[in-house]
């Protein structure tokens, strides 16, 4: 095992952040000579499991608050360093071309909607938001039986892209990846805003650098890059 | 019958190539091939059986042309209807003795069942003294029992002719002479042509209506 060099910073980030973080890491390295950012992408809960079992991580960026809350409860993070750095929106999408024209969540109970897809609520934050939105207006019991549960947002997106389902819940950033093949029907109202938290890991050998990276995410130039990938300011 | 044995063939293994080049014809009914070890006797029998394809020549038993290079005839092994005892027996390891013997009687897609009895099979099991070991697997047989099983398998399906490659070599003298009698009786009964490879003077005397002596792949000296 190679011990981490003094200037190595390991950042564990949710897969949905991968494109944006690759660009950001390059910028950060340019600004901090001798610093090498090691990016580790996986599903948020897999990242949490790794950190729980003692993986040598310095910064953790999760796609939802729940996972970060768990990390906080287990005292894995430095609570003072926790910040929300981007905001995302949940949208309902339909396939292109020839998808249904849906105007509101109520339209999902139309008979033409044979299947709709969302992330599995037990494991995928986007699914939790979607289910909550449907429960809010009392449609969930009627729709549950036509719902396909995907393992992650990307899989949900694929089903819509391929026309296997008539509608799906994904993040706006995901929908932006396939602008030619899916259309955003409308934004889904979520109770609380969808924000992505980031925090330094407790006991990291690089506390200063970790803080610097977290601040760097909030900087205007970083926010501009993030906006380029469809994320909004928190 | 008449046997036409005109063939050229070659087999090679690494650096060494062995050439077979025979031109012989006989009208005898029973033929013994002999000659030193490695002379090409077994290869000749394989060519007759359709397991070795000559590069040229003509093979015929009686009226049946088995192979004719110029005429483009090459009867596949399964249509030659010959009873062949391999020098190393080639018993089927997944079948017991009785099933091995019955193998050729049933041309379909299924092997003879373990318990099935066919009078022809039982006849040969008795004649060759295999009744006691009929339910044994080949790998539990003694050398002589293996040889007799191979012999029974070749004899049972009334072939057009018999090709026997040293079929008595692993038998004791008493059994050997019983087998010879048994074989002769069968040949007389069915008027079966025979091509026998043997080193045994007794076999030569008894079955060698005509004999072919081979050495180094070619005809040496007809006794």
């Amino acid at each position: 095992a190679t011990p981490c060099q003094a200037a190595d910073l390991t950042v564990s980030a949710a897969v949905s952040l991968s494109n944006a973080f690759r660009a950001l890491a390059a910028r950060f390295e340019a600004e901090h000579a001798d610093t090498h950012v090691l990016l580790n992408f996986a599903a948020s809960d897999a990242l949490l499991a790794q950190i729980t079992k003692g993986a040598p991580v310095d910064v953790f960026a999760s796609a939802d608050q729940d996972t970060m809350d768990k990390a906080a409860t287990r005292q894995l993070i430095d609570p003072a360093s926790r910040e929300n750095f981007v905001r995302n929106r949940l949208v309902l999408i339909t396939p292109l071309p020839g998808g249904l024209r849906l105007k509101s969540l109520a339209d999902l109970s139309l008979p033409e909607v044979h299947h709709l897809v969302m992330g599995r609520p037990e494991g995928v934050p986007a699914g939790r938001y979607a289910r909550a939105a449907l429960q809010e207006i009392g449609l969930w019991p009627a729709l549950e039986s036509r719902t396909i549960f995907a393992q992650n947002v990307r899989q949900a997106l694929d089903y819509v892209v391929r026309g296997e389902v008539e509608a799906g819940f994904v993040y706006a950033t995901d929908a932006a990846l396939q602008v030619d093949r899916v259309q955003v029907a409308f934004e889904v109202p979520t109770g609380r805003p969808i924000t992505y938290p980031v925090a330094a890991i407790a006991g990291s050998p690089q506390p200063v650098l970790a803080r610097q990276f977290i601040h760097f995410l909030a900087s205007p130039s970083s926010q501009a890059i993030l906006a380029g990938f469809g994320f909004e300011k928190p | 019958m008449s046997l036409t044995l005109r063939l050229q063939a070659r087999v090679s293994s690494g650096p060494r190539t062995f050439r077979l080049d025979i031109d012989w014809q006989t009208s005898a009914q029973r033929i013994v091939i002999h000659g030193p070890s490695g002379a090409g006797k077994s290869l000749t029998l394989q060519a007759l059986a359709g397991l070795l394809r000559p590069s040229a020549g003509r093979l015929a038993i009686g009226d049946t042309v088995l192979f004719d290079h110029t005429a483009g005839i090459d009867l596949p092994a399964r249509q030659r209807q010959l009873g062949y005892v391999f020098q190393d027996y080639a018993l089927f390891p997944h079948l017991d003795v009785r099933q091995n013997v019955a193998f050729g009687l049933q041309p379909g897609l299924r092997n003879p069942l373990r318990g099935a009895r066919d009078p022809r099979v039982e006849h040969w099991l008795d004649a060759l003294g295999l009744r006691l070991v009929a339910a044994q697997a080949p790998h539990t047989l003694s050398g002589g029992q293996r040889q007799r099983t191979a012999l029974a398998r070749a004899l049972v399906s009334s072939p057009r002719a018999l090709l026997l490659d040293e079929p008595f070599s692993a038998l004791d003298p008493a059994l050997r002479s019983r087998m010879r009698d048994e074989l002769e009786q069968l040949l007389d009964q069915l008027r079966l042509p025979l091509v026998l490879i043997s080193h045994d003077a007794e076999d030569l005397a008894r079955f060698g209506e005509a004999t072919l002596a081979l050495a180094e792949g070619t005809r040496h000296d007809a006794r």
């Binding site: 494991g123 549960f149 393992q151 296997e164 | 080639a90 299924r110 092997n111 697997a137």
Partner: protein, 231 residues
């Protein structure tokens, strides 16, 4: 097993077994045929073909599942054709899961069968020819029984692999509880949701079922006769 676990695990288990059994059966047919062809044909490119047919092992199942989706989906080449001509949809059905599991486990049977057929003493097949059998009979009466032990070993691996398959399955069949949610998918979801106890219970169930089946199926091959010399 308490009621809730039973309600989740039982349909998942039966579905898993059904999918794995179908996948194994199909693979035995396909793998034996292809393995025999690879073992007997003397083409120069045969090893290349073998390597290419091994590729389903090399690709991450999720990726394989993605390609399957592209192919079998409603807008996919094959999927479209099937839907138009036969009204068959494979996506989100257990049949789709069978296809995914079959593809993933195929190289296991193929390699095992090829190796087993290559080990057969060619003289035994020749003896069959001399005894008047045609090639089909030789295959069924000599080659297949002699290769059976090796093929079965590959088949058992394929069964286990099909049972454990979830990456490609998930992609093609979705994860509809009681309909297309296999045990492996359920385990994965339990782990993902942090329900460790449930995950452990499900792992225990899969493992027990699998061990039982492997042990029983292992008896389908005779212990020694075909594996020992005869001459």
């Amino acid at each position: 097993m308490d009621g809730a676990l039973f309600q989740l695990a039982w349909p998942a288990l039966t579905l898993s077994l059904r999918v794995a059994a179908w996948a194994t059966a199909i693979n035995l047919l396909l793998g034996v045929a292809t393995g025999f062809a690879l073992a007997r044909l003397r083409w120069p490119g045969i090893n290349l073909l073998d390597a290419v047919l091994t590729l389903p092992m090399v690709l991450p199942p999720t990726v394989l599942g993605y390609y399957l989706l592209v192919l079998l989906g409603r807008r996919g080449l094959v999927g479209n054709w099937l839907a138009q001509h036969f009204g068959i949809t494979l996506i989100f059905t257990w049949q789709g899961a069978v296809i995914a599991a079959t593809l993933v486990a195929f190289p296991l049977v193929l390699k095992a069968a090829r190796t087993a057929f290559e080990q057969i003493d060619p003289q035994l097949e020749q003896a069959g020819r001399v005894l008047g059998l045609n090639e089909a009979a030789i295959f069924l009466r000599i080659s297949l029984p002699l290769a059976w032990r090796g093929i079965l070993a590959g088949g058992l691996l394929a069964f286990a692999r099909a049972l454990g398959e979830f990456g490609a399955t998930l992609m093609v069949a979705g994860s509809i509880p009681g309909r297309t949610q296999t045990l492996s998918v359920a385990i994965f979801e339990a782990v993902q949701a942090g329900e460790d106890t449930l995950a452990n219970m499900l792992v225990l169930i899969t493992s027990t079922a699998c061990v039982l089946i492997l042990v029983c199926a292992g008896r389908l091959a005779p212990a020694s006769p075909s594996s020992r010399r005869a001459q």
